[in-house]
Every structure is written in structure tokens, then in C-alpha cells.
């Protein structure tokens, strides 16, 4: 298997906000896996979300930065717009969920299926005049995702009426509906109750990757597997994900914009430097 090949590689990625060097990564490789393959940790302000921003076109990176998506086409992501990055196959969630209050959960997900279809520019534009149907391939994909994320009860509710944990789930659904190769989740369990965290462990660890494999074999998903990256402070989530399905994700610890170490969760938790950073001993 090509399981341990990097799916995303970053080389010399720098982000500057004025005089502040917010991100200075010499090299990070996110390994390919079916399921959670990378966990990003680090104290507040370490540059975790900035790293996501640089990966997905939200934050402009310095010249010379190189971010490559090794999905067979080896596409360079630097310089692409946010929408183009999504179409390349990288979807992300946000720390405070991005949602569309006047649309229902299902509508938002159906919208997401649209622009990542493999067809010509003009066909894609013409498809704007289509109606988001519940039948057809997009509809089936969305139905499967709704069932997987246990959003059935609120599928036809406007997002304005959803609670935060449900919004986060809806956002994951919206990401998955773009049929990504890589999903980057930003603190999916922040502010969630333990039950919600357990659900996320179950869902991200085994159910979602399994669903993607099945949908791919049915021709509903464009990639054979999805690699998931998670930013979290939540050790319950991290431990759960590290054990789930034997995927053994690599934990990348960031501090002050730099990569401190990449190792397994046990090694990271036991590492003296990491403890120093988190406990602000130094």
C-alpha cells in the first residue's frame, strides 16, 4: 500500500503579518491514510490555524513557499484561490463555523457538491441553472453523508436554528460534500460535550473513512480515500483518534510559528519540551 506516502508536503512555508513571522515551516509532510493521518497541536498563537490558512489560500504566503498536493497530479497549491483549492480536493472547517443561516443543512451540502464535478468550465457554469435535487448522484452522496454524521433530524432545518455542535457537524458535511482528498478540521470538538467528542472519534476515526471507501466503489466519490488532519487541544479527542482503527496519526506540535516535533501521540505527550510549552515553563 502507498499508505505512508505524503499526501501534502510543505516546504519553506512562511507567513508574515507585518513584521511578525507568524509561520515559518521548513518542512511538514502530511502522510496519506484513510482516516485521520495528522493531528496539529500547540498552544494558542502557535500558528496552527495560520498553517491551515496558508494551505487553503486564506492567508497569503511568502515567495518561495511550496505546498504540493501529491494526489497523482502533484499540484502546487500556492497562488491558487480559496475556491480553486477546494476544487483541487482540500476542504477545511473553521474554528468558528462558516455556515449559511438562510439555507438548510441539506441545501448547503448540495451546493457543495456542485463545483467539484469534473467537467469543463462552461458546463460547470451552466450547471448553476440546475435545481438541487434530492435524487441523482449528488443527492445520494448528501444523503449518505447526512446519515453518517447523524444529521437526519435537522437535515431540512435552516442553519440559523442549529446549535454549535450541530453546526460543526454540518460544516464537516459541507466539506465532505465537496469530495475532498484531504480534509482539514480546525478544533472540531471545541466547546463540545464529552458525548459529542466520542461521536467525533467514532465518526472521524472509522465511520467516515469507511463511508468514503464505499462511496468510491459505488462511483459517488471521486477519491478512493480521504486523509483527515485535525487541529485540537482536546486530548480526549486526540487519544481517541490515535487509537481508532489503528491509523496511528502523526502529531505535529507547533510553537511560535515553527514545527517543534512530529511524532506519535505518546511520544509527544511524554516529551519534556512539549510539557514546557504547554505549562509555560521556561
Amino acid at each position: 500500500m502507498n499508505k505512508r506516502q505524503p499526501i501534502l508536503s510543505l516546504r519553506g512555508v512562511q507567513v508574515r503579518f507585518g513584521g511578525l513571522l507568524a509561520l515559518d515551516i521548513k518542512q511538514i509532510e502530511m502522510l496519506d491514510a484513510s482516516g485521520v493521518s495528522a493531528i496539529f497541536m500547540g498552544p494558542n498563537g502557535a500558528g496552527k490555524s495560520t498553517l491551515y490558512g496558508a494551505l487553503t489560500g486564506y492567508v497569503p504566503v511568502s515567495r518561495g513557499s511550496r505546498i504540493t498536493l501529491n494526489d497523482g497530479k502533484n499540484r502546487e497549491l500556492v497562488g491558487r484561490s480559496r475556491a480553486a483549492v477546494v476544487r483541487c480536493g482540500i476542504a477545511r472547517t473553521h474554528q468558528s463555523p462558516v455556515f449559511f443561516p438562510s439555507l438548510t443543512v441539506r441545501e448547503g451540502m448540495l451546493l457543495s457538491t456542485r463545483m467539484t464535478r469534473t467537467c469543463t468550465w462552461i458546463r460547470r457554469r451552466l450547471s448553476w441553472l440546475d435545481f438541487p435535487g434530492r435524487n441523482g448522484r449528488s443527492g445520494r452522496l448528501v444523503d449518505e453523508l447526512i446519515a453518517c454524521l447523524e444529521l437526519d433530524a435537522v437535515a431540512d432545518t435552516r442553519m440559523a436554528r442549529l446549535t454549535l455542535p450541530l453546526l460543526r457537524r454540518a460544516e464537516i458535511g459541507r466539506c465532505m460534500a465537496t469530495q475532498p482528498r484531504v480534509v482539514l478540521l480546525d478544533e472540531p470538538s471545541a466547546g463540545a460535550a464529552l458525548g459529542e467528542t466520542a461521536f467525533l472519534v467514532q465518526c472521524l476515526g472509522s465511520v467516515l473513512p469507511g463511508l468514503v471507501r464505499r462511496l468510491h466503489s459505488e462511483g459517488l466519490y471521486r477519491h478512493p480515500q480521504v486523509a483527515i488532519g485535525v487541529i485540537t487541544h482536546d486530548l480526549v479527542l486526540a487519544e481517541g483518534l490515535a487509537k481508532a482503527n489503528g491509523a496511528s496519526p502523526v502529531v505535529h506540535v507547533l510553537n511560535q510559528g515553527r514545527l517543534l516535533m512530529s511524532a506519535s501521540l505518546d511520544q509527544v505527550v511524554g516529551d519534556a519540551r512539549v510539557q514546557d510549552i504547554y505549562l509555560a515553563r521556561r
Binding site: A83, A84, T178
Partner: protein, 313 residues
Amino acid sequence: MLWTAGLLGTCAIIMAATMSPSQFWRVGSLFCLGLIALAGLHVLTGLARVISLYHVALVGVGAYTAGALSLSVGLCPILSVPAGVLAAAAISFVLAKLAGSLQDHYLTLATLAASEILTNIFRGATGLTGGANGLVGIPPLSIAGLVLFSPQDYFPVCAAFAVGALCVAWALQRSFLGKALRAAGDAGVLVETLGIDSIDLRLAGFVIGGSFAGLAGALAAHVDGFVGPESFGVDRSMAYLCFLVIGGLGKLRSVPVAAALAVIAVEILRGIVGWQMVILACAAVATLYLRSWTMPPLFAWMKRRLGAKAGVA
């Protein structure tokens, strides 16, 4: 839906009782033309939440294009009306392109500037637009040799176009494009998380809205036989926005309600020159206050008061 129909029906009955038939059909036609223009504004402002202050100037572009073409080249209305639509859509396209990635208030300012530029062209380009005198003697609508001169004759045409515009707006609202525009109205550029280019999306919204405006203007030029620069100022665009807000921004019913308000307000507010905009603005603010989707503050306040009284008793 039922409410809207009932309200509009009542208005129509009152008008029919108080007006002469020709006046009634004339006002009815104005209602239809306003409805077409407002359907365009509904797409741009109601769905995509772009506050456009040059919508009525676009109506003017349609009107002047159709009028000038039929006066100078002698184009028949069947060709001059599409020409007006195309001209307004083209101007809209150019503005959306020039505005680039401007957002929110900056975009609104750009539309304000566009409105001023267009009205100055209407007034200044004397050779093309007749300057302050406007264009006089535009031939009436005619279909296959049948000249529609009296209000009774051209009302069905206007009504047909209005119904068509409403149907298109309704279909659009349910299409991917309409939903995407709504998403853009909700989350702004973050609609790009769906893989949709927000600038392309907005471009589509501008062009569709502009086409509706151009259609309304071109028809109005032939219906009135006259186009003058006074009718297309930025104050009219602001009034249109107020009407849409009062009708319920973002809902399809806002379009006919706003069109009715536009006709009625012109009649009622005609006597109080100078106060029209003040009254409209107050009405719009009152509507927002009473029907804000987050929490109607007034109702909450009343509920608290009533609750306090009940507690004491």
C-alpha cells in the same frame, strides 16, 4: 402568499373604483414595469445582499438604449427592447468586473458612483440622450404591425413580462445559482468554501439583476414615449431598496409588494415634496426594527412589559 395576493387585490379594487379605466390600466402597467425592475433588485439585494444604488440608473440605460435606437436607427420595439436589456446587462457586467473584489459598503459606494456617472451621461450626452429635454416621441410598442398605443392595449404585454419576470425570479431562487447567491448573502466571500468563485457568482447576480432592470426600462420607454433624466436618479434606487425592505427583503413576495408600494407611494407622497425620502427611510427602519430576523427588539420589550405586569397581578 395569500396575504400578499389579498393585499394587492384590495389595492387593485380600490384603484378600479376610484380611477378612470385608462388611468387604471396605465397605473397597472407602471406596477408591472416596477415589478420587473424590482425582480432584478431582488436577485441582487434580496438574495446576494449586495446593496445596489444604481438599479434605477440601469433602468435608465435600458430606456435610453431602446429609445435612442428606435428614434435614430428606427429599430422596431421587438429589437430595441432586447437591445436595452443587453445594454443594461453589459453595464452591469462592466461594473461588477471593475468593482473586482470590493465588499459590502465599498461595493455599495461603487454602485453609487456608477449611478452618478450614468445620470450625468443621461444629462450631459446631449447628442445621444437629448440632454435635459430627454428623448421625445419614442414609438409605442408594436407586435407584428399591431400598434399598442392605449393603456388597455399595452397592459397585457407589461403584465405578461411581469409574470414572466416573477416566474424567472422564482425559478432562480430555487436553482443552484439562487441558493449560492443566498449563501453569498449569508457568508460573503466565505461562500468560496463551497468551491464557488465568489466574484464569478456576484458577476452572475449583477448581470441577471441588470437584465431585469434593462427590460423594465426598455418597455417603459416605449410605453411612455418619453425618457427624461429626472426619472433615474439615485433617490429612486434608494426608494426601491426601501420598498423591498418593507416588502420583506429576500422573500419573493417582496417583489410585488414593493412594486405596489412604488406605485402607491408616488401617488400619496406626491403632495409632500422633499419629505418622500424621509418618510420612506423611516418606514424602512421601522420594518427592520419590527421584523429583524435575529430578535424583534420591540416585541421582546413588549413581552417583558406584559410579563412584568402579569407577575405583579
